[in-house]
Amino acid sequence: MTAGPATVTDTLAGVPTARQVRTHLRKARSRHHDHSLGDVLGDAYVMVLFVGMYGWFAISASRDLLDSPTVGQAEPGVRWWLAIAALLAGAGLAWRALRALGPLLVTPATQSWATSAPVDRQAWLAPRFVLLLVGAAAGTAALGVAVAALGGVSDPTALGWAAAAGAGWGAAALALSVVAQSSRSGRRWPTVVGAVPMAAAAVITTVVVLVGRFGDGLPRPATTPTIALVALAVPLAGLGTILAVRALPRVDRATLTTGAQFANAAATATILLDPSLLANLVESRRWRRIGRVRSRRFLPGPGWWALLQADVRRLRRHPSAVLIWAALIGVQYAAALALPGLAGAAQVVFAYLAADRLTGGLRAVSRSPGLRRALGGSDNLLRGIHVVVPAVGAGLWWLLTLPTVDPGPAWLAPTLALGVVAAAFRAGTRPPIDYGGATVNTPFGMIPVDLLRQGSRGPALLAVLVLVQLFLG
């Protein structure tokens, strides 16, 4: 006898609750490993301790650095307004990250074997939502304290208000992102919510830079409106939470699993110390969104000429790379105003980031031996052709930001610019990571030295360039 289709007299009769399915799953899984709740809490404690200790150390060191003569004196209002712009830009990026992740997600295995069943979706997602809400509030509260401490605040009451403001806005953002996750595709408000702080950051930065260079500088407000921020954030977080709880039953499989792919790629990239795993997914999503392009013939000429045209065409089809390249010019001007003593070092770092945005073709030919075989020619020739666009981009970027730095020795600027191109080239031609390399047993645990060496290809050269600029610039 073989099993036939079971009857569906009442489709939801006998369906267990979400809690029962979760318990069933947890029990089944716990039979095969001995990872107890105590282990999890222990790991979490170590993580919190680690982040707290090193986080506070980083804040103290940054505060000392900002007050040191090395960094130089900025206009009183410049740092305040640029900090506001940085917070707004960070908020916009955080919103985009929340939207990309879900933020609610289930693993593909859970989707395949548990949430595809008629288990109550709201009850299944509610514990995750609460956990995320508490995590977001705690994380942004810590961020609020860190920002206030960096700004010179040491009064415990003021730090408490900063923590409350951070927690309120963090919880509001998390809750509203869940509402956005449940909304139908095509709704514009989630895009607007992400774009407004980014646009505000761009406007503030532009005004600060223009007034800073051509005027007397913007005045710093007498007080930071932290209490007003709390007064706005708390009701918004409350309302957002109510809406999010109501929206939980409408969070569908499509958004739950899309975020899981990002989370999985991010976790794998972190564990394997290979950010390209996440970058590849982001890139494939981007090209998928574009879908179709207008194909045109290349202008006649030798093979390298066609490859160069293809690299330029790739850039035209990926305008956000050019947008980031251009935005980094504004960031460099802002950094030069806020941290005049570190303007040269900032120029090196931002030039590298700008050039790195233009290395899409270089990365594509470097990671695929099959593609190089198909294109023909030597590997060096192919890489040489694909470094032209990043090199031109880096050179142009450097020229446009020259007014932000003091002219040092005549040889320094071209050397650093060439060094930046070399660093971008090294990062762009990074081969796939080989996990068979050396590891060293240290008092802090096993350190995969060879993985770190491979991962630092490019950034290591950048660090040398920054040191050269700091000591010789």
Binding site: V8, S112, A117, P118, I290, G291, R292
Partner: protein, 207 residues
């Protein structure tokens, strides 16, 4: 009035400017088997993903037994069983535990699990973890997940893939029994023998 088990009305899906599905419509009564036909890249998998709610169509709607097929609706999830290529496994659950979990989550018991294991030839692998399974065994496990739970509509994306000759014979027999039991089956397939053996209706897309 007889309500179709599955109705697709004006379904469209674009990736940027690329139109993958353009105003696809069809109906499938209970106890019928339909195959989606089309060349590579014609949107067969995208159509099946939209039908089960794994992807959001840009326009159009899917009805299951006259009910709007919103994946967040538990009734719809209870009615539609699907084996697509996006299935994943818990690394620490055995074959039989996966199937018992599905049966339990659908309000059933483990009774059909042993029968389905035997039918699909997965008995020797019942205690194996997914990482130790061959691609064919994984495919069988994915198909088994559809048969240990109640269903009125069955969606399969190239179910013959990675099955050996006996497996394909079993598949054809199983689909005929699904039809006899009143299940509406929608599948994408490139196997002409399977299509000739079981299919009642052909839905051509991407022409």
């Amino acid at each position: 009035m007889i309500v179709d088990a599955l109705s697709v009305r004006g379904l469209s899906r674009n990736f940027g400017d690329l139109v993958v599905l353009d105003d696809v419509s069809f109906t499938l009564p209970a106890g019928r088997i339909a195959v989606v036909l089309g060349p590579n890249g014609s949107g067969k998998t995208t159509l099946l993903r939209c039908v089960v709610g794994a992807d959001r169509p840009d326009s159009g709607e899917v009805l299951v037994q006259g009910r709007r097929a919103d994946e967040t609706d538990p009734q719809v999830r209870a009615l539609v069983a699907a084996a697509l290529d996006d299935i994943d496994f818990f690394p620490d659950l055995s074959v039989v535990e996966h199937l018992e979990l599905v049966a339990y989550a659908h309000g059933g018991d483990a009774e059909p699990v042993e029968e389905v294991l035997a039918e699909l030839g997965l008995e020797p692998a019942r205690d194996q973890l997914p990482v130790t399974l061959s691609s064919g065994q994984r495919r069988r496990l994915a198909l088994a997940s559809c048969f240990v739970r109640p269903r009125r509509v069955l969606i399969l994306d190239e179910p013959e893939q990675r099955l050996d000759v006996r497996g394909r014979q079993w598949l054809a027999d199983r689909l005929l029994r699904e039809r006899a039991a009143g299940t509406a089956v929608l599948l994408a397939s490139h196997d002409p023998e399977l299509i000739d053996a079981v299919v009642d209706e052909r839905i051509e897309i991407g022409k």
